[in-house]
């Protein structure tokens, strides 16, 4: 019997290595898998590259991970938030590398990794500082730049419902980066608010099919706070 549901955080985090590329879901704090991030801190992997839309707020979740000094580089679209104190300090001190990527390019680069597309052309960022060093090409009269797929070793994902095959649904705008990151990593680890019986999810409504999921941990944390 396939059963991707793990019983504790240690099982969920098993095998994450130093130097891993870790994709972390969420847009701001909504859909961000804070319990798994805490588990990763506990687990101790270091020299990480983190891919996430934001760079953490206050001293919790992603910010707390950065604060441990285990993140060598962050790839994100918007490191600036209401309270990005941890990231800003590290960045100003030159203790973390930053790759700023347009939000849609970031999503598409991960989609490409999950879809077996090694590189694609895009109009986004043409003629801007973020196109520097990238191949530019005119196609049918318009200029584009070439962007590479962005794959993860591990994805940390937050979902609303999950079954033992790893089928997932999300709640409202908490979907955001989670489904695409699930497709882009070798190992996808999910924290789910609700565990449901196999067959309880409408086959027309599954947002991430279990094929993209490695492990599911039940984390009924309640309501997120916006930060």
């Amino acid at each position: 019997m396939i059963n991707k549901i793990v019983q504790n955080m240690a099982e969920a985090m098993a095998g994450i290595r130093d130097g891993s590329v870790v994709l972390i879901g969420g847009f701001g704090s909504i859909g961000q898998p804070n319990a798994l991030i805490d588990g990763l801190i506990e687990q101790g992997a270091k020299d990480l590259t983190v891919v996430a839309n934001n760079a953490g707020v206050g001293h919790v979740g992603l910010a707390r991970l950065l604060e441990t000094g285990r993140v060598r580089k962050i790839v994100c679209s918007f490191p600036r938030t209401a309270d990005p104190v941890v990231f800003e300090k590290l960045w100003r001190a030159g203790r973390i590398e930053l790759e700023v990527v347009p939000q849609g390019t970031m999503a598409e680069r991960m989609r490409a990794a999950g879809a077996g597309i090694p590189a694609f052309y895009t109009p986004t960022a043409v003629g801007t500082a973020l196109a520097e060093g990238k191949e530019e090409r005119e196609i049918r009269g318009r200029k584009y730049i070439l962007e590479d797929a962005l794959a993860g070793d591990v994805a940390l994902i937050e979902a609303w419902e999950a079954d033992r095959w790893g089928n997932l649904t999300y709640k409202s705008s908490a979907r955001n980066f989670n489904p695409v990151m699930a497709t882009a990593a070798k190992t996808t680890i999910v924290q789910a608010q609700h565990i449901v019986e196999l067959g309880a999810l409408d086959p027309e409504k599954v947002a991430t099919p279990g094929i993209f999921v490695s492990r599911v941990l039940h984390v009924p944390y309640g309501e997120p706070t916006v930060t």
């Binding site: 839309n53 918007f78 990005p84 939000q103 849609g104 986004t124 043409v126 003629g127 409202s172 979907r175």
Partner: protein, 227 residues
């Protein structure tokens, strides 16, 4: 015209510049029923407040909401439903959710009828600079480059000048570019201007303002729209 510093708006004779809310209200009048619209974070988000609900305009938020509604009453907040500005919002009847890769595929694919962004500068060739001014804090681009490059109709909502009186409508942008040649129209506290192959064309001005006086506070050369 050779200096960036112009007389500040406050010295303009006999006219009442619009407040930010009034610019949003003015812009909202030009959005017809049935358009799909993305409103950039900050001032552009206020445009939604001036589209009456009976005029069906469908707002998209790049974090995966199509059919975004107004802010919820405090007791009706869905804590998993935020907009790109990370404020609580609602979903209109008929709205739906999608993940980030699908959301930016929609944006990059040119399916929106309109995107409204704020900006630091707009150049007479349609270039827009709205994401970075200094290198003091970490660069943060978010979805601005995707929206600017992807949407066929880009309108900018901004003050005509900076607080120190420098024109935001320029011959060439001095700040880092967001996208090249994409702005179609600019709504400021003083005027509505089209970007044309021949530069800025003034569609309308606040009552009492003259083209000569508007030119005084504008770096780029202006002309009236042919009528």
């Amino acid at each position: 015209m050779n200096t960036m510093v112009k007389d500040s708006v406050e010295t303009l004779p006999a006219c009442q510049p619009l407040t930010r809310r009034q610019i949003a209200e003015r812009l909202a009048r030009d959005i017809p029923e049935g358009w799909y619209v993305n409103l950039g974070i900050g001032a552009p988000l206020q445009v939604a407040d001036y589209v009456p609900p009976e005029r069906e305009v469908i707002f998209q938020s790049e974090n995966g909401i199509l059919g975004m509604g107004p802010a919820p009453a405090p007791h009706e907040i869905n804590r998993w439903l935020i907009n790109a500005g990370k404020q609580y919002v609602t979903l209109r009847t008929g709205g739906s959710y999608m993940h980030h890769a699908d959301s930016f595929a929609l944006i990059r694919g040119g399916h929106l009828d309109l995107c409204v962004l704020g900006a630091f500068q707009v150049a007479e060739n349609g270039d827009i600079a709205n994401w970075a001014t200094t290198t003091d804090s970490a660069p943060a681009v978010g979805g601005a480059m995707d929206l600017a490059a992807g949407t066929p109709r880009l309108w900018v909502l901004m003050e005509h000048t900076t607080k120190t009186g420098e024109s935001r409508l320029v011959r060439r942008c001095s700040y880092p570019l967001t996208a090249i040649g994409v702005v179609k129209r600019v709504y400021t506290n003083l005027a509505v201007l089209d970007v044309t192959p021949d530069g800025f064309a003034v569609r309308e001005m606040v009552p009492g303002l003259t083209l000569a006086a508007l030119q005084e506070v504008t770096d780029a050369p202006l002309r009236l729209t042919a009528t």
